[in-house]
């Protein structure tokens, strides 16, 4: 039996950054909002014994329970897709705050170049710079149009940073808080990159350099540099997360309710409108329908795409014909870089998630690509996140992987190893896409999402080029031994790489090549919005959430306008 609940103005599926932002903005405008979250309630008070690498970083305490739902994966269409049986390459979020609870907090704005990548590339390098199978396209919005929303997100999150990067877009105001501490390890990078003629600057961080009250009146505390940040919740309330900012802001209006243990399985549709969502109580498996005037999918890249697919909303992308937009332009990232082994001990175990310095000289179009066989690039950074002993066992080349020699080398180098890493922008390719799997189901009986993905020649060329640059920086930093990353071959879903999945529900100006318009409103159902990094038409050289946050504010404006006026917003 399905129970139908009272209708609300807005329902969001999932309560991470995107769900929280939509809720706060809409509830402040007087709309009644319900957030359905499949995980549980949690907050700062739950993180008092979080300095536990084994439970949180190795056994993934805060992440998605794959026994209930996972995705399937194959490198190409000739392979059989198989379930990702344990987490690896990326760590999916679950519970209040989503992945925003255990993120690092690097908070970037994508470059003006990113949003108009097709136009700028064609203008500068001609239409054939990349072969036709690379499906790059503009995002249907410019940096200048998105700038106020970037600004909004950064003020909500209290981002600590400095405006010293010559390559990024213009900012309408300064960062709300000053940059984090420039530690000796960071200074080493700063000196080396300056010597090489590059332009280092502090990573914009959601681990706040000082206590801050945001425009919603929420308090974020000062980071204590505790070294347990990535994959952990912050026991100080110092890492900006949805549950200490936008979620309480939404709750304080009295117009917002979060329902936990609510796993949405379908978006209900009637004609060209959606009417609400169907969900399972994850404890009792009772079914409910939550009717709503507006449905907003805020359940991350993977689940947003899956819900549209199982609900048959929009046209599934077909790599054979190139037709259809749903599932298209999935992109990941590539991680070029270099490791340096040093003589002296450093305080590598101290740190914070977004404590770092970066150079953008090889990102976007800030360098000349005329003679190169790829476009775009990578931000290159050093981050001091706090090395922990189970997962940090770097050894110089030719060290055995176990036994006495391994023991000695891994212990010796724990406090003597630094990394310079790039986040390589990944361009979409016609063979990389999301679809539904025909064999495997989740615990609620719904088909699993299927990811078909491999690195492309563009990725490999970019990886080689940026890896060389990383090696030069590490050399200049004075490492005794510099080890550059091996060239990439096939994408492997096993080792952790980055939780920066993009695409599948791409935004754009053209209905034929995008799923949603630039208010993130679905082309086929005006009261349905889809928001997240799935909207990105390609992946850039940064972490996604700054841009995701901006898009969420843009979307919230759209939902509010739609609720008042109806109709298409573009």
């Amino acid at each position: 039996m399905v129970t139908t609940l009272d209708s609300v103005d807005v329902v969001t599926v999932g309560v991470g950054w995107t769900g929280g932002i939509i809720a706060a903005e809409c509830a402040k405008e007087g709309l009644k909002v319900v957030g359905l979250e499949r995980g549980r309630e949690r907050g700062t008070e739950d993180f008092s014994i979080v300095h536990d690498e084994y439970r949180y970083a190795v056994r993934y305490e805060l992440m998605q329970d794959l026994s209930r739902e996972t995705i399937t994966f194959r490198n190409n269409r000739r392979q059989r897709a198989l379930p990702m049986r344990q987490l690896g390459s990326f760590l999916l979020g679950e519970g209040l705050g989503g992945a925003g609870t255990h993120w690092n907090g690097q908070t970037w704005r994508f470059l003006p170049y990113d949003l108009q990548i097709k136009t700028i590339t064609d203008e500068k390098y001609g239409a054939n710079k990349l072969p036709a199978e690379y499906t790059i396209q503009d995002w249907g919005i410019t940096y200048d149009e998105l700038e106020p929303y970037f600004d909004r997100f950064e003020k909500t999150a209290g981002i600590s940073g400095e405006d010293k990067n010559p390559f990024w877009g213009k900012r309408s105001s300064a960062y709300p808080t000053p940059p984090m501490k420039k530690t000796p390890i960071l200074q080493r990078f700063e000196t080396a990159t300056s010597n090489l003629g590059l332009s280092p600057f502090m990573v914009p961080s959601a681990n706040l350099s000082e206590a801050y009250e945001n425009p919603d009146g929420q308090q974020i505390n000062a980071c204590q540099y505790c070294g347990f940040c990535e994959r952990f919740g912050c026991e100080y309330g110092a890492k900006t997360s949805p549950e200490i900012t936008v979620v309480p802001a939404a709750r304080e209006t009295g117009n917002y309710e979060v329902k936990f243990n609510a796993n949405v399985v379908e978006v209900m549709k009637e004609g060209d409108r959606v009417t609400g969502v169907r969900y399972f109580d994850t404890v009792t498996f009772e079914e409910f329908i939550q009717p709503a005037n507006v449905v907003v999918l805020t359940s991350y890249v993977m689940n947003n795409a899956k819900l549209l697919m199982v609900s048959e909303i929009g046209q599934q992308y077909d790599p054979e014909t190139g037709q259809g937009s749903l599932g298209k332009n999935y992109a990941y990232q590539i991680l070029p870089g270099a490791t340096g082994f040093f003589d002296e001990q450093m305080n590598t175990f101290m740190g914070a998630g977004a404590l770092g310095m970066t150079v953008d000289d090889f990102n976007g179009d800030s360098f000349e690509h005329g003679d190169l066989d790829f476009i775009h690039g990578a931000s290159l950074s050093i981050t001091q996140t706090g090395s922990r002993p189970i997962l940090a066992n770097s050894t110089p080349p030719d060290t055995p992987s176990w036994g006495a020699e391994f023991k000695r080398a891994s212990i010796e180098n724990f406090t003597r190893t630094l990394n310079v890493g790039g986040q390589g922008a990944s361009m979409p390719h016609k063979e990389n896409f999301l679809a539904l799997n025909g064999t495997y189901k989740d615990i609620y009986g719904v088909p699993l999402l299927e990811l078909t993905y491999n690195f492309t020649d563009q990725d490999r060329a970019l990886h080689n080029y940026i890896t060389e640059r990383a090696g030069e920086i590490m050399q200049e930093m004075g490492a005794k031994t510099v080890v550059t990353r091996n060239p990439i071959t096939d994408y492997d879903i096993v080792p952790y790489q980055t939780t920066h999945n993009t695409g599948g529900t791409v935004m754009g100006a053209d209905q034929a090549t995008s799923v949603v318009n630039n208010f993130l409103q679905h082309w086929d159902a005006e009261n349905l919005f889809v928001v997240g990094a799935g909207n990105f038409a390609h992946n850039g050289g940064y972490n996604p959430t700054g841009t995701v946050g901006a898009l969420a504010y843009r979307c919230a404006e759209g939902v509010i306008r739609y609720s008042r006026e109806g109709g298409s917003l573009v």
């Binding site: 198989l82 049986r85 000062a222 204590q224 540099y225 309330g237 101290m350 002993p389 023991k407 212990i411």
Partner: protein
């Protein structure tokens, strides 16, 4: 690419590794204190000191098996993990750190039972890039792997695994690592990786899980475990030695 250089000073290493440092200082958990004074000396609780192995990790120093029902199997695991992480002049190995007890406990719980993994059929062998596709749970892999170690010792050396020489154990472990041992439902290479990883987890996880006895794993690596904050030390040009602290070190 530069060549590796093994000429680090071991004396310097021992000096800074904290192995030879004196009494252990306990401290209460002060997580939640905003802007707390994080100087370890100020927050340490003088009452909860203890240096003996028994006072760390397992409650009241009691140790026992909760997954293995057979001491012989446990002894094989003990020896195998010691080969992976042996005792030497840097400090204890897996046996001294109680790694096998850690693994035993993990195998009895959600780790061993794969309770957070997607274990639904059908199972197909996939490409290596698709990851682990076995229907076996981790505790089944361990049980089988250990039995096979014993079998290999018998067939290669006509002796029990626990009685053969270290190099002979290494030969068997290497055969596992190279995928040369026939296992059912999983390949031995995968099992070996699991064994190696579980060993490192037992060496370095917080002692509340029963391994890393006396925080010996952390001491060797100069990792201070749970510290509330480093805001006062993180700008130091010098390496800062800090007495390690476990999450279990509070009243």
């Amino acid at each position: 690419m530069a060549k590796k250089d093994k000429n680090f000073s071991r004396r310097d290493f021992l000096k800074t590794s904290g192995i030879a440092t004196g009494a252990l200082i306990g401290g209460g958990i002060i997580g939640g204190l905003i802007g707390a004074n994080t100087n370890q000396q100020d927050t340490a609780s003088p009452t909860s000191t203890g240096t003996s192995e028994e006072s760390m990790g397992a409650a009241g120093g009691v140790r026992g098996l909760v997954f293995f029902g057979n001491n012989a199997e446990f002894e094989i695991l003990n020896q195998a993990t010691e080969r992976i992480f042996p005792e030497d002049d840097l400090g204890p190995g897996a046996i001294g750190l109680k790694v096998a007890y850690f693994i035993d406990q993990q195998l009895a719980g959600s780790y061993g039972e794969n309770s957070k993994e997607y274990m639904q059929a059908p199972f197909y062998e996939g490409e290596p890039t698709q990851g682990y596709q076995s229907r076996l749970k981790r505790n089944e892999m361990f049980r089988q792997g250990i039995q096979l170690m014993q079998q290999e010792a018998q067939s290669r050396f006509n002796a029990n695994f626990v009685d053969i020489e270290g190099e002979q154990m290494d030969e068997i472990l290497t055969a596992f690592q190279e995928g040369e041992i026939q296992m059912r439902g999983v390949d031995s290479q995968f099992f070996f990786r699991l064994l190696r990883q579980a060993t490192l987890e037992g060496v370095y996880a917080d002692p509340i899980y029963g391994g890393n006895a006396n925080m010996g794993g952390w001491r060797m690596k100069d990792f201070p475990g749970h510290q509330a904050a480093y805001i006062n030390e993180i700008e130091s040009e010098d390496f800062v030695e800090i007495e390690p602290q476990s999450l279990g070190m509070h009243d």
